[in-house]
């Protein structure tokens, strides 16, 4: 029961993208197409699950004063592993995400979960938290990138949705569209949660 709570926490109550507004850089940068959104979400989730597990296992061995550098090294190790896997199995995704794969290291979601959850909880709970947060991040990226890809390119996962008469609003896949779509989606998320409460 408790494990389920840890899992669902990241999906709704503390959704990292819409609720905590963490990890905004990759969120805005890679959501030009649904394929990139899924790739980035899964990559970050893999790093998050791995780093949460290791940090929760070593939490008693780490001196308090140097904990942040140690956490960062653990996270960077997983990021390097994920980066090599992506390079080996999907060069296309590697080209699309580019510099934002190594930048998963400084994605604040991962360090924030290490510090506020994994360093205080048991390994199993930490894995569940990693899965929940990773899933919440992935779902949010897919939603944002779906809006941007459909409006900005007229496609979904590369499939043409409309006839040839449709003129896509190019601005949605350019940088301004990222800010616009993200801002409006947070507002919608806020509105929905406030309706649910009242």
């Amino acid at each position: 029961m408790n494990l389920w709570k840890d899992l669902s926490n990241g999906l709704f109550k503390e959704n990292p993208t819409f609720r905590l507004v963490l990890g905004t850089c990759p969120t805005l940068a890679v959501t030009t197409a649904v394929f990139n959104g899924i790739g980035m979400g899964v990559a970050a989730a893999a790093v998050l699950i791995g780093s949460n597990l290791i940090i929760s296992l070593i939490k008693k061995l780490v001196p308090n004063e140097v904990r942040i550098p140690i956490y960062i090294v653990v996270i960077a190790t997983f990021v390097t592993m994920v980066q090599m896997l992506i390079q080996a199995f999907s060069p296309e995704l590697d080209r699309q995400l580019g510099i934002f794969i190594p930048l998963i290291v400084v994605n604040c979601i991962i360090l924030a979960r290490a510090e506020s959850f994994a360093a205080k909880n048991k390994p199993l709970n930490s894995i569940m938290d990693g899965i929940g947060m990773g899933l919440g991040f992935t779902v949010a990226l897919v939603v944002i990138s779906a809006v941007r890809e459909v409006l900005g390119a007229g496609t979904f996962l590369g499939m043409q949705l409309f006839g040839t008469g449709f003129k896509p609003a190019l601005i949605m896949i350019l940088p301004p569209g990222g800010f616009l779509a993200y801002g409006l989606l947070i507002a919608a998320f806020n509105k929905l949660t406030s309706l649910k409460k009242s």
């Binding site: 507004v21 963490l22 990890g23 905004t24 850089c25 990759p26 805005l28 940068a29 942040i68 550098p69 960062i72 090294v73 960077a76 190790t77 990021v79 390097t80 980066q83 090599m84 510099i99 190594p102 930048l103 290291v105 400084v106 994605n107 604040c108 360090l111 601005i171 350019l174 940088p175 301004p176 569209g177 990222g178 800010f179 616009l180 993200y182 801002g183 409006l184 947070i186 507002a187 919608a188 806020n190 509105k191 406030s194």
Partner: protein, 194 residues
């Protein structure tokens, strides 16, 4: 000439915040007041210039001779974390007033992706040491320009009547979107020259 192009294109054409999406967290988090925005961006500019040079040296003098290029991410982030700690200590000793003003923001710079981003971009673009330094400074200045302008807008936004669900981040994002449209005007300024 090439150095000038690198500088101008880092500041305007490929603005780190508004067109490359680097350093968005502090851009949204520390832009509520113009004063704090200036303090934060000065510290970031300094760290970015220093981190560019040191990470370049690590890449070409240590990682490549030893053939451990895959350690790049780990090596760079450690250097940046150490550098931020070092800058914090130096400022604390030499200028307590500046330390008071920047205090809270200094540790945050480690997780500013513009810093790690500029270090990796320098290597990817095959810049030499001087170009790396110029690119680092340009990146810092582009962050400064974006965050200080944006802080001015946000101070005004506080006074405006905004629907409840749009308060805070959503309205800030939409303001940033308008900023990005303005910076889109610089796109293609030097295409073909770099």
């Amino acid at each position: 000439m090439r150095l000038g192009l690198i500088l101008i294109s880092a500041i305007f054409v490929n603005n780190f915040v508004l067109s490359r999406f680097l350093g968005i967290c502090p851009f949204l988090g520390v832009s509520k007041k113009v004063e704090t925005a200036i303090g934060m961006s000065l510290a970031v500019t300094f760290v970015m210039a220093l981190a560019s040079v040191i990470s370049w040296m690590i890449q070409y003098f240590i990682l490549i001779p030893l053939e451990i290029g895959y350690m790049q991410t780990i090596a760079f982030i450690l250097v940046i974390a150490g550098l931020v700690q070092f800058v914090e200590m130096v400022i604390k000793k030499t200028s307590p007033t500046l330390y008071q003003a920047l205090g809270v923001y200094l540790p945050l710079i480690t997780t500013n992706c513009a810093v790690l981003g500029v270090a990796i971009l320098n290597i990817q673009s095959n810049y030499n040491l001087i170009e790396t330094l110029v690119h680092g400074i340009g990146g810092g200045l582009s962050f400064t320009l974006a965050i200080v302008l944006f802080a001015g807008v946000r101070e005004k936004l506080d006074m405006a009547p905004i629907p409840k669900s749009m308060e805070g981040f959503p309205i800030a994002m939409i303001a940033a979107s308008l900023f990005a449209i303005a910076f889109l005007g610089f796109q293609g300024l030097f295409s073909g020259l770099l």
